[in-house]
Subunit: 228 residues, 4 copies
């Protein structure tokens, strides 16, 4: 992952499903080209293949199951993601919490395939715990701020700093991201100033009347830190 990174989770919003997911992904790619800030996009399961065909920026599954391809009705396998052009997967998002044993299996399976795992966790100690599995990236997101528009970087700066310090001192190879309530360019700027390598956000873009403009604002926030 080149940093700073902005990862847009499209969740299961009606506002960002189907063709709208494709459009937002294309806009993210344009903003990346215009600004040099790296974007990634996580569309819903039903959208992931079509979105991955439409853009060159990394597209992540929102979830993947700890299973091999086979007789697994209703599941998604890490081993098949490449076939769809996907770059990896979010893992253990606050809205799709997993058993630790399954996080562990999924991270290993993604690593074997050369794919990216971005493992979410709800507090600094939990984030250190998932970092111990040595995924590509961890994302600290306090669940109580998700979807509120109150940014973790403003509301819980000390927890972001603690997370960065814990992960960097124990597992220096792991990328650290934060999220929850990140909504403005200023929120992104503050987050990067606290030491993270990127941000994970959803509704601010997915439910925006003008997602491209919002992503430009977020990218500008990121660039303002780089220039310093």
């Amino acid at each position: 992952m080149s940093t700073p990174v902005i990862i847009v989770n499209l969740k299961l919003y009606a506002e960002s499903a189907g063709q709208k997911a494709v459009e937002i992904a294309k806009q993210a790619q344009e903003v990346q080209r215009e600004t040099g800030v790296t974007f990634g996009i996580a569309p819903s399961m039903l959208d992931a293949w079509v979105v991955a065909q439409a853009v060159e920026i990394p597209v992540y599954a929102q979830h993947v199951d700890p299973v091999e391809p086979g007789a697994w009705t209703g599941h998604v396998s890490p081993k098949l993601l490449k076939e769809y052009g996907l770059a990896g997967s979010l893992v253990n998002h606050s809205e799709k919490r997993l058993k630790l044993a399954d996080i562990s299996k999924v991270v290993s399976a993604l690593k074997e395939e050369g794919l990216t795992s971005i493992v979410c966790a709800g507090n600094p100690r939990e984030t250190l715990a998932v970092a111990a599995l040595e995924p590509k990236a961890v994302a600290f997101e306090p669940p109580e701020l998700i979807g509120t528009g109150i940014s973790v970087s403003k509301a819980r700066p000390e927890a972001v700093t603690e997370t960065v310090e814990l992960v960097r001192s124990h597992h220096p190879g792991v990328t650290v991201i934060c999220g929850a309530g990140v909504s403005t360019g200023e929120d992104v700027k503050r987050a990067l100033e606290l030491g993270v390598d990127g941000v994970l956000l959803a509704s601010a873009v997915a439910k925006s009347p003008n997602p491209k403009k919002k992503m430009e604002e977020l990218a500008a926030g990121a660039r303002s830190v780089l220039k310093q």
Copy 2:
């Protein structure tokens, strides 16, 4: 559902993922046109949108969550299936068992959208239980026979008959399907002779070296009953 119905679950087999799912769906459509036997196809989450764009026969999700569109990372909503051209969903498959309260929510949500629910269950009494929720269809599949190639219609004919009688006497409007181990035209013929409206099967087609030929055999088995 016009009957007899043959529903092909592509599960998460590597042999039936991605473009291969599209091909099998197109072949199912051809066999339907050639034989008049109704086919339905249930591709994996990642394949469902593309498959539904490629064919006119009904395409079903393999699973759907009891949630509205919104902040549900890693989930699929009944309310959004139409947007992808899907006809409905399998529910409570043996490899994706659900809480009863969630089966109930999903069946109601699919019904509100005018979509088809095919609710699986593992024995005659459980099948009667899901029929009480008045989905479009119920599918009796003894888990111990799934994937064995030993057909429920040969190995457990009395359980198929019991299921048909229980569901028809209590909930006559509900379509009754059976599955597990259904592999040959003869298996389909026997199942229909036992009184079901259709069959649900997977590996016999999905892992076949020649899926089209296998589906032609299955359709011929179905037609032999109609002619009697």
Copy 3:
């Protein structure tokens, strides 16, 4: 089950844990002796054995897992309940929802042991679904009223009536109970007038400053219907 029945679920309230569970159970037994109204009590897992040793009225587990005795750390088996003097178990309570396949296994296992299963469900159709498994009893409890003090028998009388009619017409051998918000003698009276065989309740007794007096009030409500 002799009717009318009043089943007191002690949940995991601090007010009804440990020795307090034993006391409430003894009081329930006294009220039964005084009034002739049948009481049952469902203490927490940690209390069940001691409570069952202390009283002769039926003591139910709050939950039981679909497993045989064996290598099942942290589980409870239907096959072992008798050894503790338990009369059976609540199954699929709104606070411990189960997969349909597991409800089915647990009901069968309890039946094999000659034990009572009281299977909860959240609406009339779900209650009919669990009745199809032919447990000893079903309990209709709309989850939105649980713990509110607003009785299902006052707030949703038509749903209680619908449940009674559905279950009695399809599965006449199954006892029908209702619950959620049942708090007063009047609530019990109305519930029985709607045709149920008993009520399931929790906080009104478990969190009462005087559980015995509250149970006497509930029993009086039940008796007022018998006398009519």
Copy 4:
């Protein structure tokens, strides 16, 4: 925890349920008094209270839920364990795997109560992950060896060593235990020689025709290391 520690998980074996759990616990206490080796015992939910009343050695729950006391039918709360004389709980056993977020909540809640958490994990990295939550102890148990009688200390010595090194270097305050297949005094000796502070075992004692004699053998194995 004074070390070396031998923790006996009674699971849900018919051979170690009810009064037999009480007997085994009393025998463990006698062996501790005779040998000076510390024993702990983890009976099933239904047995825990009675066992804890019967002995002075630490008695652990086999599982505890991430909930406060309250309206939680079928659950067990960390906040209430003390009331039953319990010393703490096993957490995330291979037969009762938890979501990471729930392991985290349970460890914090037990710590707040001054109770012991013994968190299980299936490989060295997962064990490091749970150690990051700073429980009292972690237990490395490869699931494929559990119940086999083939001891982790013989079959996977390098994994035990790796676990000890990982946990001690990152989280030196955390006690390290190993388990899976530990069956003889020799197995205990080898485990302690690999650097762990204790062992977790089940069937070798719980299903033994003579549990006391087996525990004496295990204690002798532990003592042989101390003397070196």
